[in-house]
């Protein structure tokens, strides 16, 4: 059984995001970039399934310029077997990403497509769903537990007030939620080995894909600065302020 795992290169979650002065985008110059945490959980899940003997090959794919090879290598250090970088100079929309991944799936014929539920930069939570639609295969989003039994995937999802478990035949798309697992640390020897694992580069023309650019980024605005607080002398003053200034009661 083969798993295809998509990883996205995003600004590291520790970095305070800064908007460019012209508001055209977020400033990424020389900031630390990492695998999107949800994608990392997808990689970890694939590795655990491989360790459990359920799957035997993990293919890691990322879309972007050469720099995203860093994230592919990081995923290979966690336990991926080989990588594919789809060369793409611009940031494609969710639908374009799904189209590219669907195309890769045509080549790879993986049984399990594991994706993060969303990326922490664009927060779309769309790609996995679109990919399942394009492939006309079942999907289970926001997985908090995954079990493979024969040709069926049992996926547990956290819903309001409880857990929902769905079952679906493979091949299928699963997107991962935060509590599915806790990704491991990459050990030094594995990082070294990962540098020698195969990594193929494909370009959009080879895949026969023209980006639709169906979503345009108009502007990015920083949130309003928080106003300083003030101390009140009495409960009465507080109530007065809540009622007349903040108008919340």
């Amino acid at each position: 059984m083969k798993a295809l795992v998509a990883v996205k290169r995003v600004i590291d979650y520790n970095v305070k995001v800064r908007v460019k002065a012209d508001q055209s985008d977020v400033d990424l110059s020389n900031t630390k970039m990492s695998i999107n945490p949800f994608c990392e959980i997808a990689v970890e899940e694939a590795v655990r399934l491989k360790e459990a003997g359920v799957i035997n090959e993990i293919v890691v794919v990322s879309i972007g310029d050469k720099s995203c090879q860093e994230q592919i290598r990081a995923a290979l250090a966690l336990g991926g077997d080989r990588g594919i970088q789809v060369e793409c100079a611009t940031a494609p929309s969710a639908l374009d990403v799904a189209r590219i991944l669907a195309n890769i799936q045509q080549q790879e014929q993986a049984d399990l497509l594991l994706l993060g539920k969303q990326a922490i930069d664009s927060d779309n939570n769309q790609t996995g769903q679109m990919l399942a639609a394009l492939l006309n295969c079942p999907q289970a989003t926001c997985a908090s537990a995954v079990k493979i039994e024969g040709n069926q995937a049992l996926v547990t999802r956290e819903v309001d007030g409880g857990l929902l478990t769905v079952s679906m035949p493979l091949p299928a798309v699963i997107t991962t939620d935060l509590r599915l697992n806790e990704p491991r640390f990459a050990a030094l020897p594995k990082i070294m080995q990962a540098k020698r694992k195969p990594l193929a580069v494909q370009n959009l023309a080879e895949l026969g894909i023209t980006l639709t650019d169906d979503v345009k980024l108009l502007a990015v605005n920083a949130p309003a600065e928080r106003q300083g607080g003030s101390k009140v002398a009495s409960v009465d003053e507080l109530i007065d302020k809540l009622r007349n200034e903040a108008k919340v009661i």
Binding site: A21, N30, L188, I191, M192
Partner: protein
């Protein structure tokens, strides 16, 4: 415990300019000699450059030697220094501009570049990897590993996945031994392993005590009409008065940004002094605010500086390794520059280590000769009076002395100036001093500590042992708090140390997650009771463009 071992010819601790320059040079030399030499660099920051903080105006001298074609290779040296200004701040409003001929020659910056040292390291790492160097960011060197005969064998990387009580969590990975024929220690100022080596091999025997400063830096986006790329401003005076020395810098770099910072010598005497607050109020001086007003602060950080210079420079070789760059103390304080000298120490080390490997020697003994015949030695020797003069006479008269010494005597005034007192022995008690009161931050030019630390992108996994350890947990209650009102609260630029009240008793709380890895506490604590230890790999600041 049985540890896994990985072997290389050379293991380098720290992916700063020193370590990366040494790594590149080793690979270049190996190619020239037709040798295969394996080199690995480990770095505690989450990525190369994440923990690098410097002004910086760089003299490209050492870089020219390493990569004469650095410009074609795209090195991030974009802004040549175009104008030097040196000012003396008389008080909160007034200043005197010192004419260039009156300033020490070492302060002139023609031919130098205004850079981000972090970005230079990122670029150097690319060059090193292209030459075949293995670089592992996110892995601190926790301990030194020795051979039975006492020579350095290598280092042990830190364990990953240990909880706050020291117990392994799920996903625990024990650290492993990286061994090499030679291990180069290039941790930067006050490296925790460098400190151990100094003691183990008595490297500083017969040398003056090492001296340090703390540098606090901010990066600002400023309005285009206030920006003059290449303008370099240095100054001293207000707000540092009476018993503290230091100086500020303001560099107009590229991208419509300025780097502004204050350096405070850690031999200051007033326990109430707060370098952070001095820096914040200093930005209100018209000399600085004329550029900063209307701008936006985008990054903040701090780092200790090893500034003892020639008189304090330890022996740099020992069996199995070398101590290099700011880890040893190669910075030239008279030029407020350490990058070119640190790099040069790395280049010389690479040459000496290759020699030693080819001749099967355990100590790279040719380093000392190479060093003494280099411009690095010449530069440090001729600046040996600079620091002691300022410690002895203060910034103004010490500065005047340095002009005389550097411009007329070329650093050879026939006198001996030494400073024999350790920085941590200098503090007076609170009872001997008038309390210091700092103005409140205005949120435009000056800011509080926590919102500043926020801009350093620092982060540490919460569930891990505190990486700032007290040798004697009672000492703060016997000495630091009653006699000095715990100065760590004020010299720490990240708010790591807090004295809170618990059941009516003072309690020292250590907020290790805020730590910027500047090492000031390890240096300045009166009892040398605070031990900075490396946290879990990848922890600490994530500086962009610093």
């Amino acid at each position: 415990m049985e540890r896994e071992v990985m072997s290389f010819d050379v293991v380098i601790v720290g992916a700063g300019v020193t370590g990366l320059a040494a790594a590149c040079r080793l690979k270049q030399l190996a190619q020239e000699h037709g040798q295969e030499i394996t080199v690995c660099v480990i770095e505690k920051g989450s990525e190369v450059g994440a923990h690098i903080l410097s002004g910086a105006v760089m003299d490209p001298k050492a870089l020219n030697e390493l990569f004469p074609d650095w410009e074609q290779r795209g090195a991030p040296l974009h802004t040549p220094a175009s104008e030097d200004q040196i000012v003396w701040l008389r008080d909160a409003k007034q200043h005197i501009q010192i004419p260039n001929w009156m300033a020490p020659k070492t302060m002139h910056n023609q031919g130098n570049y205004l850079i981000s040292l972090g970005n230079l390291c990122r670029w150097l790492a690319e060059q090193a990897e292209a030459l075949g160097v293995e670089i592992f960011p996110g892995f601190p060197a926790a301990e030194i590993v020795y051979h039975d005969n006492g020579a350095v064998r290598g280092i042990l990387t830190g364990d990953m996945g240990v909880d706050k009580d020291g117990q392994p969590k799920s996903g625990y990975i024990p650290g492993m031994i990286l061994e090499g024929k030679f291990t180069l220690f290039a941790e930067g100022s006050r490296g925790h392993l460098g400190k151990q080596l100094m003691e183990k091999f008595a490297l500083n025997a017969g040398k003056d005590p090492q001296h340090y400063a703390i540098g606090i830096k901010e990066l600002w986006d400023i309005p285009a009409e206030q920006h003059q790329p290449g303008l370099v401003i240095h100054g001293s005076g207000w707000p540092l008065t009476d018993d503290s020395n230091g100086g500020f810098f303001l560099y107009h770099t590229d991208n419509q940004q300025v780097a502004v910072g204050l350096i405070v010598d850690l031999n200051y005497r007033h326990p109430g002094l707060s370098p952070f607050d001095e820096f914040q109020r200093m930005k209100h001086h018209p000399v600085l605010s004329q550029y900063l007003k209307g701008g936006k602060r985008v990054c903040y950080g701090a780092r200790a500086i090893t500034k003892g210079g020639f008189n304090s420079l330890p022996k740099m070789t020992f069996p199995g390794g070398l101590l290099l760059g700011c880890d040893a103390g190669t910075l030239n304080f008279s030029r407020i520059k350490g990058s070119h000298t640190a790099m040069k120490s790395g280049l010389l080390a690479a040459e000496a280590v290759l020699d030693a490997i080819l001749n099967d020697e355990v100590e790279a003994t040719t380093f000392t000769d190479r060093f003494q015949q280099s411009w690095l030695y010449e530069e440090l020797f001729s600046s040996r009076h600079f620091g002691p003069a300022i410690h002895k006479f203060g910034a103004f008269w010490g500065g005047a002395f340095n002009t005389l010494d550097q411009n007329l005597f070329g650093g050879n005034l026939p006198i001996q100036l030494r400073d024999q007192t350790h920085d941590h022995q200098q503090l007076k008690t609170s009872a001997e001093c008038q309390p210091k009161v700092y103005p409140k931050a205005d949120g435009l030019l000056s800011f509080d500590k926590l919102s500043s630390v926020y801009l350093s992108n620092t982060n540490h996994e919460e569930d891990q042992p505190c990486h700032l350890r007290l040798l004697d947990p009672e000492l703060p209650y016997q000495v630091n708090i009653p006699l000095y009102q715990e100065p760590a609260q004020r010299y720490c630029p990240a708010g790591v140390y807090e004295v809170i009240e618990e059941d009516g008793q003072p309690k020292l709380q250590i907020n290790g997650q805020n730590c910027l890895h500047c090492k000031t506490c390890d240096i300045k604590d009166m009892g040398q009771n605070i031990q900075w230890c490396p946290p879990e790999g990848g922890g600490g600041p994530n500086y962009p463009n610093m």
